[in-house]
């Protein structure tokens, strides 16, 4: 789960990390009032769950409240990579004496949490990784004892910070790790992390993502979810225990299992089609789940045909077939439907489907070819 910059800043501040003062506005008027209150230079920043706001014109430095009004008028409602801007953050202008990048993130190969930093602040870390990988400094936190103070200092010294800046940086890097662990984050990023006009460290822009599997113990984080930023169908799917990811093609897919679902999408593409979605209906594909799955897939007007791909394991093929038949009584499926049913009791399942006029095949590849042909017909 992602949250907005202004929300991330609030969480960092709560954990004692100094952030640049800012407030969020939903209208140009609010933006003007906040800017007036701050006085002087402010930055108006689009709050959307995507990067590249700057390039898209979603970030403007302005000199006064009237300019803030104007900038907010332009930015609010803007579309940035498919995300509509509903809020802007009005942040005080900061004098930057020094800027670096710092984050806490999983080092997946090491199975440890790491602090990652770069002397090139304000630049996307992926870009630094590509162009100047030696500028990136990392330290893996001890999986048991956490990030040691000496490690935070090592990062600071490796960034070639002046001795006077080291302790301040290290103290905040330690807090960054603590925020990561205590909030069950998957990313906590400060970029740029600056030394301001007063000579102290300050987070100028921050970003946080959370582990969905741990949200049950963070109800206050769950409240930060911005429904406007999330795909409605994906949320609906989640509520029903179905994994759903919206894609851009025309072949709707209903599959049991995440791996098989990915493989089904691949098969569709190899057959010359483009999948409209990833959909893992879960273990027991019963009437209710299949009905929901049909509804999720059919919510997309681009869908021209549907492929159901089931491998009967512990859940038997005939049971799944019964679920499909029952679901078809609940949902009016107007596009062509191709079913592939394999594994346990697949024959019984196919017979059952055939009684209801549905031909089910045994081969994933053939089913993919059929559904692509059906969509193009």
């Amino acid at each position: 789960m992602n949250i907005h910059e202004y929300q991330a800043a609030e969480i960092l501040a709560k954990h004692g990390i100094p952030v640049n003062p800012g407030r969020v506005a939903s209208t140009p008027e609010e933006a003007r009032d906040i800017a007036a209150e701050f006085g002087g230079v402010v930055v108006v920043k689009a709050q959307v769950h995507t990067g590249g706001r700057g390039k898209a014109g979603g970030v403007k430095v302005v000199k006064n409240a009237d300019e803030a009004y104007e900038a907010a008028s332009n930015i609010l409602g803007m579309d940035i990579k498919g995300h509509t801007v509903n809020k802007v953050l009005i942040a005080k202008g900061a004098e930057i004496q020094k800027e670096v990048y710092v984050s806490a993130v999983m080092n997946r190969p090491a199975r440890k949490i790491m602090i990652m930093a770069s002397a090139e602040g304000g630049v996307e870390i992926e870009k630094v990784a590509e162009e100047n990988p030696d500028a990136i400094v990392t330290r893996d936190a001890d999986p048991f004892a956490g990030l040691h103070p000496y490690q935070a200092k090592e990062v600071a010294f490796d960034l070639k910070l002046e001795p006077s800046m080291v302790n301040g940086f290290a103290a905040i890097a330690e807090k960054l790790y603590n925020v990561f662990m205590e909030e069950d984050a998957t990313l906590v990023e400060i970029n740029p992390f600056i030394i301001n006009g007063e000579g102290t460290w300050q987070a100028l822009d921050s970003k946080m993502s959370f582990d969905d599997n741990a949200l049950y113990r963070h109800p206050e984080t769950e409240k930060l979810r911005d429904l406007a930023e999330e795909n409605e169908t994906e949320l609906e799917a989640k509520a029903s225990g179905i994994s759903f990811v919206k894609l851009d093609g025309t072949i709707g897919c209903i599959v049991n299992g995440a791996g098989l679902s990915m493989a089904t999408l691949d098969a569709v593409q190899l057959a010359g089609g483009e999948p409209a979605n990833f959909l893992d209906v879960g273990g027991g594909a019963n009437e209710e789940q299949v009905t929901t799955a049909f509804n999720l897939v059919l919510a997309d007007p681009n869908v021209k045909a549907i492929l159901i791909n089931i491998f009967g394991g512990i859940t038997r093929g005939d049971v799944v077939a019964r679920g499909i038949v029952a679901a078809l009584n609940n949902v009016d499926v107007k596009v062509p439907l191709v079913v592939r049913l394999s594994g346990t009791n697949a024959e019984e399942g196919k017979a059952l489907l055939s009684e209801h006029g549905i031909t089910a095949g045994d081969s994933m590849d053939e089913a993919a070819a059929q559904v692509v042909a059906a969509a193009q017909a």
């Binding site: 999983m106 199975r111 048991f144 599997n213 741990a214 990811v245 791996g259 493989a263 394991g313 346990t344």
Partner: protein, 290 residues
């Protein structure tokens, strides 16, 4: 021989009185697995399908000599179950549960290593040694005893490939579902090493997917150490970057973890990587005779 599950396996089921635990205990018993004990706190003295239930792993191990365990407890209790198992000397722990918080797995992963135990999963279908026993939730009857070792990050894709192998006359030595989470106890590399050293395994099938770099790490190991013929498949060629594809670990982030990169690495290591799952039996047959 075979790997992980064999005649000496004495299995303990953690969470045996739950719906999943009870159902799969029956399935495992039917497949011939030596299930010796179950644990559910407060339920000591009960029996589930004839298997005695204990309050703690400690009591269960003392009473039955269990040396392997399978975890069916809910996600929020799984980490504790893993610690309880390995702290009480269980050598092989298979965690089926999906949804375990990933940051909790960091310490648990390293703790298991320190203890010298082996964890499979979490979020995995388990391990099956055809004809000898199964630990987990795999449908037993699709398997056939044989010489092909199978290792996979996905549950249903494991069944898919095992079914295809069996139908093509290629039985399996052991089938290992290592799980779809970002941090799992046992990686491809670990299982490949076991297969390479297992005299009953003569060929290997490896099913990977997008996310992380375990396939790339495995490819380096294969190049240097694996002499047995291998076929493979990587799911998720069509997955867009930044989106989790069902599995918590199946995500392309910052340009790394793509299917293309994994396929290239495996091919460079001499693995025959299939475009379609269905091609795997033939690719393998081209390299070895069962």
């Amino acid at each position: 021989m075979s790997i992980l599950v064999n005649e000496n396996t004495r299995l303990l089921v953690q969470g045996i009185t739950g719906r999943e635990g009870s159902f799969h205990t029956q399935q495992m018993l039917e497949y011939g697995t030596n299930v010796v004990a179950g644990v559910t706190p407060g339920k000591a003295g009960q029996e589930v399908h004839g298997v005695p239930v204990f309050n703690t792993v400690q009591e269960a191990v003392a009473a039955t000599g269990a040396n392997a365990s399978v975890i069916y407890v809910p996600a929020k209790f799984s980490i504790d179950a893993i610690y309880e198992a390995v702290d009480n000397g269980i050598e092989l722990v298979v965690c089926i549960t999906e949804g375990v918080p990933v940051n909790d797995m960091v310490a648990a992963y390293h703790h298991v290593k320190t203890k010298g135990a082996r964890l499979i999963g979490p979020n995995c279908p388990g391990v099956t040694t055809p004809g000898k026993g199964k630990i987990g939730i795999m449908p037993g009857f699709i398997h056939a005893p044989g010489k092909v070792g199978v290792v996979s990050r996905s549950g249903t894709l494991t069944y898919e490939v095992v079914d295809a192998l069996t139908k093509a006359g290629l039985g399996q030595s052991t089938v290992v579902g290592i799980g779809g989470d970002p941090i799992i106890g046992t990686s491809f590399l670990d299982v490949l090493e076991l297969f390479q050293n297992d005299p009953e395994t003569e060929a290997i099938v490896m099913i990977g997917e997008i996310g992380g770099d375990d396939e790339e790490v495995a490819a380096r190991f294969i190049k240097e150490h694996v002499t047995k013929p291998m076929a493979g498949f990587i799911a998720g060629r069509t997955a867009p970057p930044g989106k989790r594809m069902g599995h918590a670990g199946a995500i392309i982030s910052g340009g790394s973890g793509t299917a293309a990169g994994k396929i290239a690495a495996l091919e460079a290591a001499g693995v025959a990587v299939a475009d379609r799952m269905s091609e795997i039996p033939d690719l393998l047959k081209a390299k070895f005779t069962a």
